[in-house]
Symmetry: C2
Subunit: 301 residues, 2 copies
């Protein structure tokens, strides 16, 4: 008889994966942590009954939250990852030779430990990279206190429940802006608009209070079921206002290995929004005064 | 206790929908036909245990298989729909005032009957439109025999099993080309590449034998689970080689009402393929001699 893992994220709809083997089952201070060998997607990490990543499709999420903002920026040297305990984001960021230092602040040490042990196909050797500054701690406290400054902040947040609720607050994003260099970019996971539309609306409303520019782009992660996943971005510069030839040139120069999703065509295609997603976005605010002068920012790119 | 409809399309993975009410359950000459009221996606049509469409997300599939090729062509007057018994494609096609006649050939009369009765939110009044020429019969036989000619052929085919197997054969597509006007476009549903990659490869290999140009574009239908759905196209003209300003102008002129997915940005964004999809495509064939001269085709657009 087949054993199934039934995701409990939504009422009235669920995805189920055949469990071939339970590799790990534990309870950390924060959540229930499980690793399965699934019938279709390889190994899967589930937290509190919700799919976090699988070997079969993690590449979508991790590539799109890293390569798109890094190539849109053009000169990323220092990166902050908030969350991301499975190491998938970290591994993709470190593919960029231009990146000199990555600080990753994950609240749940158990997730890092089990990623190293059970998910090497997702994290690779990222945790052992000399550029990695790994901190087991509270990302919200980190951005409130650190003296480090970043060109890119990646908020690998889950849904706005449990220990992650703080990663949806204005205080947190005010502090994120505090630790960002002029022209830096912030990106965040923002749920599946078909099911979680208000989360996208709320995120952009919040970002508009803090940054001159913000918006969303889309990717499709099979096991984040029910359509497009939205990734939101915020910056004092407009990351969509880059000459396509620049992105192609940066992509060629970066020489990224082993990609399965991101490419320069997808870079631009991801900003095309279906009507039902576009309607979730609040009207753009009147242009705010950017922290750096527009010309200086334009030159940087 | 919750009653669930468990889709049986894939081994090792399944989607499940809460059933609030069974509205119809029957067995036609071809397949098991069911209509449910679901907990999350409104009414759903299921054939042989596989989701065909739901009120909650049918707009994606039906808009993208119609408006994209119609606006890429620019002068569609006559349309053939093969399959499409639920009427969703028909309804979208008829939104175009330029369309003078639509022939729809659906093999299973039971699907049409239950669509009219239970799925008015999907088919609207499309079956009653004076431009509709509805035929309950075999689409493969129709394209082999009809004297009608079309500017657009939409193959609303399911997966290559059961009564639809013939809709994946070379004979069928040879006959489709036979009934196409010079410069006409064919589009077809082509499965979810993450799960059904070989189907996409096979389709393009087949199209390359018959047409000068072919390819795929992508859309995301929440209940066609596991990522992007591919839609394939074939034509003697390159439908991607259209000035974006043309598409915007045609879109404005068409004055389409009630769209929730398609817009000119998505028109172009849909052709951006993630690496793992692009790699499924066979190398383009050396240019074949088009049935109409290139200049004439270009002028037509």
């Amino acid at each position: 008889m087949t054993t199934w893992f039934n995701e409990t994220l939504y009422s009235g709809f669920r995805q189920s994966h055949e469990i071939k083997k339970v590799l790990f089952e534990g309870k950390s201070k924060y959540q229930k942590v499980r690793v399965f060998e699934t019938g279709r997607f390889g190994r899967m990490l589930a937290l509190d009954g919700v799919v976090q990543c699988t070997e079969g499709d993690e590449f979508v999420y991790h590539e799109m939250l890293t390569h798109l903002p890094i190539l849109a920026h053009g000169k990323v040297q220092s990166v902050l990852i908030v969350g991301g305990g499975d190491g998938g984001i970290l591994e993709e960021v470190l593919k960029h030779k231009s990146v000199k230092r990555v600080t990753m602040v994950e609240i749940d040490g158990m997730v890092i430990d089990i990623a190293k042990k059970y998910l090497p196909k997702i994290c690779g050797k990222a945790f052992a990279d000399r550029r990695t500054n790994l901190i087991v701690g509270d990302g919200a406290a980190w951005v409130a206190e650190t003296e480090e400054r970043y060109d890119l902040v990646i908020v690998d947040r889950p849904d706005p429940v449990g220990p992650a609720t703080v990663l949806f607050s204005k205080t947190f994003y005010d502090n994120c802006r505090r630790v960002m260099q002029p022209g830096a970019i912030l990106v965040a996971q923002n749920g599946v608009p078909h099911m979680q539309g208000p989360e996208l609306t709320d995120a952009i409303k919040l970002f508009q209070k803090i940054w001159a520019h913000s918006g969303t782009y889309l990717a499709v992660v099979p096991t984040y079921v029910c359509g497009f996943m939205s990734m939101t971005w915020a910056s004092d510069a407009d990351i969509t206002d880059v000459d396509p030839r620049q992105i192609f040139a940066r992509y060629d120069r970066a020489g990224l290995k082993g990609l399965r999703y991101y490419n320069p065509e997808i870079h631009f295609g991801a900003f095309a929004l279906p009507d039902f997603v576009a309607r979730l976005l609040p009207a753009p605010k009147a242009a705010r005064k950017p922290a750096v002068k527009k010309k200086a920012a334009a030159k940087k790119r």
